[in-house]
Subunit: 366 residues, 2 copies
């Protein structure tokens, strides 16, 4: 089955053509159809003549809009909105939005909508580490989250790890300020209790329990669950600390002639190390809990990262990540119960979902 991926190109730092180059790579590597949204001429110059890639002229970008939800509502012609509506209309199976987390989340909620039984969609980010990536979820879709939401995030992250990241039996941990089940805020303690109940003896997920921050990057867990506030702070801290350490090493390597020679000799090995922790490898942040999977590669990515995002979005769709999340949550009794009243009309459901996104989607990337 060929998967169709709708790709918004307008949020990339290197410009839409770089995303188009990524699409070209993806089309050469996987059985995908790609629909590229952005400035037509610029995109055509890259992909013209490639049968698997269509270009849809949508030059308007709201990638940097200060109020993403408002921008999505007021600009139905924006490239992001059009790419995501491609999924709700059935023209595409899944979407990739380069460098615009907030608008992707807002448009996803509004047009693709929450999957049945999901409290809140979440952003899951596979963090590059020395070994396999560790997926942190949520990294900013929900600044406030209730224990039931975090329980769902655990299952969502595990399903992503199984279908997209190639982890057979994901180990799921909860981020806290101590390993003991009693550590953390009352909400964190409650999440620990709920996840312990639901993951004990689980057929394809392993429950690690609480971990502290220092273990996040050590590979003791494949999926680390936290609320969107803590997750976002954590993610940004990790970026900052890595940069600080790297620039410290760089300063050291230019501090005197001997050190400079040493730095020069060490450079190839350091570059291999850098490549091994390349954030582009995992495709970007994954928007989970909507009726279709969405991927948000970082705006700073190059064609290689955009290609990965497209291939992995297609793979997630093909391996039915959304169905797997539903099935796992159903088996665990962790689906959101439908409201007691009759179903609200569609308009209300969208409004509720948008309201659920809290104080507006938060930018993780870009």
């Amino acid at each position: 089955m060929t998967v169709t991926v709708a790709v918004d190109t307008t949020g990339a730092d290197l410009g839409p053509a770089e995303v188009a180059e990524g699409a070209k790579l993806a089309a050469a590597r996987a059985d995908v159809r790609i629909r590229l949204f952005g400035p037509e001429a610029e995109l055509r110059a890259v992909v013209d003549g490639i049968a698997a890639i269509e270009v849809v002229d949508a030059p308007m970008s709201i990638a940097k809009a200060p109020d993403p939800a408002l921008a999505v509502r007021s600009h139905p012609e924006a490239s992001i909105v059009r790419a995501i509506r491609d999924v709700s209309s059935g023209d595409a199976d899944t979407f990739v939005v380069a460098g615009a987390t907030g608008p992707a989340l807002a448009a996803g909620l509004m047009h693709v909508r929450r999957a049945r039984g999901i409290h809140r969609p979440a952003l899951a980010l596979p963090l590059p580490t020395l070994g396999d990536p560790v997926t942190l979820v949520d990294v900013g879709a929900n600044v406030e989250a209730r224990p039931d939401h975090l329980v769902q995030f655990g299952f969502m992250g595990a399903a992503l790890a199984r279908t997209v990241l190639g982890v057979e039996r994901p180990r799921v941990a909860l981020l806290s300020n101590g390993e003991e089940p009693t550590k953390g805020t009352p909400d964190v303690v409650e999440v620990h209790r709920l996840l312990s109940e639901r993951l004990a003896g689980h057929p394809h997920i392993e429950w690690v329990g609480n971990i502290e921050g220092n273990l996040v990057t050590t590979g003791v867990a494949d999926v680390v669950v936290t609320d969107g506030f803590t997750g976002n702070v954590a993610l940004k801290l990790m970026e900052g600390v890595s940069q600080t350490v790297v620039s410290g090493v760089r300063q050291a390597a230019t501090s005197n002639p001997m050190a400079m020679l040493g730095g020069l000799l060490l450079k190839p090995a350091l570059n291999r190390f850098k490549a091994s922790i390349d954030p582009e490898r995992s495709g970007g942040a994954y928007l989970l809990g909507l009726r279709s999977l969405g991927v948000v590669p970082h705006g700073r990515f190059t064609r290689e990262g955009f290609a990965r995002a497209i291939v992995l979005a297609a793979q997630g769709h093909e391996r039915q990540v959304t169905d797997l999340i539903h099935r796992d949550l159903e088996d665990a009794g962790a689906l959101r119960r439908p409201p007691a009243a009759v179903a609200a009309p569609a308009g209300d459901a969208v409004a509720a979902a948008a309201a659920d996104a809290g104080s507006g989607p938060d930018r993780v990337n870009g």
Copy 2:
């Protein structure tokens, strides 16, 4: 005025004698009297004959007790309890407890007690960065904290920076998931509002506003305010990420002969870099909001770090950090109002303070 510092020696990884060596260094560098608590013979073997140092035999350690509050209550003879009671009895002015944050916090609350007008004591940790240290507060004393508490943490951190860390006009920031005042949980948004009001045009504190995690280590702020849950997670993450990056560099530097030679040539410069971000430089975590200052150097520290902790504790006392916190909070109208009823008897006050510490003090160090 000679400051007297009560020092508990039993929580150091390298043993009580290493703390005694630190005391010896401190006594040589500053005008302090030091009262060392721990196993007498072991301590005397190091400091015998030094007039400024007294040894008090208190061999019992509760540094690693699983329930610090319980251990403090049930072991009045423990070295930590005796060192901290030295301050409440007036025999010492300030205390240093090596490697035992939880017991220090519990014993501090019980015996030294909260300063007047303080909601909750907090743990402030000067983080080593490429430039001056950045003080994160709270790093784990309060897993749950109300906006009023975080406002006080900001003033406490600023007073520490001025008196102990030599920052003339500290820049105070709030950790959030975005720079805009509307970003964060409702509590964080409220703290932003309160700090903006109270720090606008402040004579000796500069208000930076919200910062994201990636700016914590870049030196845009001297003091970063957050709740104890987020602060603890952040601190541990930073440790973990630094270690991951460092071991990645080390792996790279041993991956082939050319890289090994490069690593060898680079080593002296890297060691200087490592020394420049040495966590021992800033003495450890500072326990603020009690009637006296307390310092908790990390259990892993060497004599140099313990010496710094003792000298800086004395300096904080001499420069009246506790009075400065009170004065600043009073001027800002941010002191805790006394309860409407008549003052509770002393026993109740201790119980209330202990209860205030939430689900038990959290270990930052050790």
